[in-house]
C-alpha cells in the first residue's frame, strides 16, 4: 500500500509533464510552465508579400478560465534573432518587453552583443501596442511599416501529443485515424510583429530563432 502511494506521487508529475510537452511547450526543466517558456515560433510571408511576420507564443495550454489571469512577465525579454549571412550568429534582433500593460518593441537592429546576454536597444524603439485584454478584440498598432500585437490567442499548434506519448512510452503501437488534437480549446500568450523584408536582408534566405531572456 505504502509502495503504491509512493509510486503514485512519483508518477503524477511525470504524467502531467508528459502530457504537456510538445512543439516546444515545456521543453526543459528550467523553464517549464513559467513565463519564459516558449511554446512555439513561426515566421511566414505576410498578406503583403513585401513583409514577413514573426510570431512567438509563451505559456502554453492555458484553459479559457486561466487565460484571463495570464500576463506577460516584465522581467522577461523576448528576442527574435535574424542571421542574414549564413553563420547562424544574429546580425539583427527584434526585441519585445512589457511595461505596465503595453508591449514595447525595439529593432530590427544590430545588437550590442550576440549570444546569451542582451541589453535592450532603447535607441532603436520601433513601436508599442497596448496588450489586448482577454475578452477584447485584438488591439494592434503600426509604425514605420511595422505592425504589432501582444495578448492571448488560440494556440495555433495542433498534434495528437497524447498518442505520441503513448507510443514513446510503449503503451501504443501507432497513431489513431482520425487523431485527437491535444491542443484543441487551449490558449497561449502571443507576440506578433510584421516587418518589411527590406529591414531584414537583401535577398535569398535568412536564419531565424527566438529567445526568452530574464533580467539579472
Amino acid at each position: 500500500m505504502k509502495n503504491t502511494k509512493k509510486s503514485l506521487w512519483l508518477i503524477a508529475p511525470l504524467l502531467l509533464a508528459g502530457l504537456l510537452i510538445a512543439a516546444d511547450h515545456i521543453d526543459a526543466p528550467a523553464v517549464e510552465g513559467g513565463s519564459s517558456d516558449i511554446t512555439d515560433f513561426y515566421v511566414f510571408q505576410a498578406a503583403d508579400p513585401d513583409n514577413l511576420v514573426f510570431t512567438v507564443n509563451v505559456q502554453g495550454l492555458l484553459s479559457p478560465t486561466a487565460t484571463g489571469m495570464a500576463t506577460f512577465d516584465e522581467q522577461t525579454l523576448i528576442e527574435f534573432n535574424i542571421d542574414n549571412n549564413g553563420d547562424n550568429v544574429e546580425d539583427l534582433v527584434i526585441q519585445a518587453i512589457p511595461r505596465d500593460g503595453t508591449m514595447y518593441f525595439f529593432g530590427p537592429i544590430s545588437p550590442m552583443e550576440t549570444g546569451l546576454n542582451s541589453t535592450i536597444m532603447t535607441e532603436a524603439a520601433s513601436g508599442a501596442v497596448t496588450i489586448t485584454p482577454y475578452g477584447s478584440s485584438a488591439i494592434t498598432a503600426s509604425n514605420d511599416g511595422m505592425s504589432f500585437f501582444a495578448g492571448p490567442r488560440d494556440d495555433p499548434f495542433f498534434m495528437d501529443f497524447a498518442k505520441y506519448s503513448d507510443i514513446i512510452m510503449g503503451n501504443a503501437t501507432g497513431f489513431d485515424n482520425p487523431g485527437t488534437d491535444t491542443f484543441a480549446g487551449t490558449n497561449v500568450m502571443s507576440v506578433v510583429v510584421e516587418v518589411p523584408k527590406s529591414m531584414l536582408g537583401e535577398s535569398g534566405s535568412i536564419n531565424t530563432w527566438v529567445e526568452s531572456k530574464t533580467k539579472q
Binding site: 526543459a28 513561426y42 550568429v89 541589453t119 487523431g179 502571443s190 506578433v192 527566438v210
Partner: protein, 188 residues
C-alpha cells in the same frame, strides 16, 4: 520516515509544477511607475527555439536545459552526435546501412541539419515548412509540421515506411486563422 519525507518532497514537486504556470507580477503594484519605462539592465537566456519539436524529440532529458542556452553556431558540434543516437534509437527507418529519408539524407545528414536549431526563411516568395514542393522556407500557422517531421523520422526513402507512426492524423488547427494581422485566431 524516509518514505514520508519522500512523499512530502514529491508532493512539493507536484505543487511547484502546478503553480509555476501562474506568473505573479504583484511586486510591481506598490510603487509609482516612472514616467519613462525602465529598460536598463542585462537579460540572460532561458529558452530558445528554431524549428518545432527539436528539443523535445532529439535532445536527451538531462541535456534539455543545456540545449536552450547553447547558441545556434555551437549546436552542431555539441549536439549532432546525440541527435543521431536518439534518432536511430527512435526510428526503425534508419536501421540499415544506406537508409535515408525522403530528402535523401542518412541519419548523420538529417541530424546534421536539425542540430543547428534555426528556422530557415525565404525572403523571396513562398514560406512553408513543407508544402510538397518547397521545403524549409519558413513556417506558416497552417503547416502540419508534426506530420512532416514524423514522415522524415519514420517514413523512409519514399514516405511509405512505418505508416502507423508517420502521421498523427491531426491535419489542421481547431480554429481558422485570420487572413490579416495578427493572423492568429482569437482565444477560446
Amino acid at each position: 520516515m524516509k518514505n514520508n519525507l519522500f512523499s512530502i518532497f514529491t508532493l512539493l514537486l507536484c505543487l511547484s509544477i502546478l503553480l509555476t504556470s501562474c506568473s505573479n507580477d504583484d511586486d510591481n503594484n506598490d510603487y509609482m511607475m516612472p514616467a519613462e519605462p525602465d529598460f536598463s539592465g542585462s537579460y540572460t537566456q532561458m529558452d530558445q527555439m528554431g524549428r518545432p519539436a527539436v528539443n523535445t524529440v532529439f535532445v536527451s532529458s538531462d541535456a534539455k536545459d543545456m540545449f536552450n542556452v547553447t547558441t545556434p553556431s555551437d549546436q552542431q558540434s555539441e549536439f549532432q552526435s546525440m541527435f543521431e543516437s536518439n534518432l536511430t534509437a527512435l526510428s526503425p527507418a534508419y536501421a540499415n546501412p544506406g537508409d535515408m529519408n525522403a530528402l535523401g539524407q542518412d541519419a548523420a545528414a538529417f541530424t546534421g541539419l536539425l542540430a543547428t536549431d534555426v528556422l530557415n526563411v525565404s525572403l523571396e516568395g513562398t514560406t512553408t515548412f513543407y508544402d510538397g514542393t518547397n521545403i524549409l522556407t519558413g513556417r506558416n500557422l497552417s503547416d502540419d509540421v508534426i506530420t512532416v517531421e514524423l514522415l522524415l523520422i519514420f517514413g523512409g526513402e519514399d514516405f511509405t515506411e512505418n505508416p502507423s507512426l508517420s502521421d498523427d492524423h491531426v491535419d489542421a488547427n481547431d480554429k481558422d486563422f485570420l487572413t490579416s494581422f495578427p493572423y492568429l485566431a482569437a482565444p477560446w
